[in-house]
Amino acid sequence: MDTIKQIEQLILQNKVDIFLGYKDLDGHLIPHGFTKENLDELKDLQISDNRYSLEKVATHLTEKNPDIKIGIIARDCNKRALNLLYTWNQLNPENIETIDVNCCPSPLKSHSDCSYLEPRQSGEFKKENGVDYNIEPEAFMGKFDNNERLTRWMYEFNKCIKCYGCRNICPVCFCKECSLEHPNLVEPGTLPVEVPIFHLIRAAHMAGRCIDCGLCEEACPAHIPLRLLYREVNEIVSNVFDYKPGCSDEKSPFSVLGGDVVLEPKPMDFKYKEKNNGL
C-alpha cells in the first residue's frame, strides 16, 4: 500500500521518531507505535474501522519527551483535535507529521474508514422517555417545552455510573487537576452521581474545546447521548462567540481573560408580570 511506503520513508528519513498507527493482533485492530527498530512490523499496518484516540497517546509521549517527533494517521476529526491541541500548547506543530486517510464516504474517495458512520439506533423506550441519539439540537428545542426537556435529560443523566470514561477517552481533555474530581464541586465517593451538575460541569468545560469526534458517546456504558449535548455546546459557542474549535489557529474565547468584550449582560425578562395580571 502507498501509505505503508510513505510511512516507511518518514521513519527512515528521521522525519519522525515514532509513527502511531494500527496493527492487527488476532483479529483485533489495536493502536501501535512503529519505530525504526521494528520496521518489519509495518507490513501489518492497517487503517482500522475502530477509532482510538491517537492524539491522547501523542500528548502522553510529548509529556515524557517534549522533543519527540511523532507521526499520526489522521482523519478529519483527528486533524481537528490536533489543531485544537496546538492552540492549547499541548503539542508542537513542528513535531507532528500527519498522513491523511479516508473519512466519511464521498464521490472523491472509494471507501470510508470510520466507525461513526453507523450511529447507534435509539430504541422505542429511549425515544419516548429520554433523548434520541440522532436528533438535531434545534429539532430537540422545538419539539419539547421546558419541563419535558428537563424530564428527558434527567432520565438520561440518572443512568450515569460515574465511570469518568467520557473524560478519560476525550482527546482534548488534558487538565492535570480535573474539576470533576474537585471535592467541592463533586462529592467524592457517592453514587449515583449528582445529576445534572456532573454533566453540566463537563459540558461547560467542553465549551471551546469539543471537536465532535463522538468517542465519548461510544465509551459511555450508560448510553447517554453526550454527542448531542456537546453539539449543542458547540452551536452556542459558534453563535455567540463565532468560534469553531479545531478549524482555525485562534485561541478559544474562554482562554483569554479580559480582552475586547462586546457582549452585554442580558436584561431580565418580566414575563411573570403578565402571568400575575399586574398584581
Binding site: G33, N50, H60, K64, N168, I169, A219
Partner: protein, 135 residues
C-alpha cells in the same frame, strides 16, 4: 521511545471486559477499553479505567513484613515463610483445618489463584476458600 498497546482482560469482576494497556518504554501508562471486544464493545466501568494505578503504586510492599509487638517489622523471605508455615501448623493442630480461611484476589494471576486454592484444599485440608469477585 517505544509505545505499544497490550490487550488484556480486566482483573476486577467476573465480566471480563477487554482492555488495552498503553505501554511507554516498558512501563504501563494508562488503560483504554478494547473496542472490538465482544463483552464490552469499548466501554469500561471506573474500576477498569484505573487498572494501571495499582501496578506501579508507591503503596505496594517491597519486602515481607512480620508483626511483632503490635507493629510491622521488615523481614526476609525465609523468615516470613517459616513463620507463616509454623503458625499454620500450630493453628491446624490446635483448632482443626476448618478454622483457616483463604481469600484470593482479583489482582493476582489465574495461575496463582489456582495454586492458592490447591494449597487450601490439599495441604490445609479445608473448603474455606473464596474470591472477592464472587460478591
Amino acid at each position: 521511545m517505544d509505545c505499544k498497546f497490550v490487550p488484556s482482560v480486566c482483573s476486577y469482576c467476573g465480566c471480563g471486559c477487554g482492555v488495552l494497556f498503553e505501554v511507554i518504554d516498558g512501563k504501563i501508562n494508562s488503560t483504554i477499553p478494547l473496542k472490538s471486544h465482544p463483552v464490552n464493545h469499548g466501554q469500561l466501568c471506573i474500576k477498569g479505567w484505573n487498572l494501571h494505578e495499582y501496578i506501579n503504586s508507591f503503596m505496594r510492599l517491597k519486602t515481607p513484613l512480620i508483626k511483632e509487638n503490635g507493629s510491622f517489622q521488615r523481614a526476609t523471605w525465609d523468615e516470613a515463610i517459616g513463620h507463616t508455615a509454623s503458625e499454620f501448623k500450630r493453628i491446624k493442630k490446635e483448632f482443626g483445618p476448618d478454622s483457616i480461611g483463604v481469600l484470593v484476589s482479583a489482582k493476582i494471576t489465574n495461575e496463582e489463584n489456582y495454586l492458592a486454592q490447591k494449597f487450601t484444599r490439599a495441604v490445609i485440608g479445608t473448603n474455606n476458600v473464596d474470591h472477592c469477585a464472587r460478591l
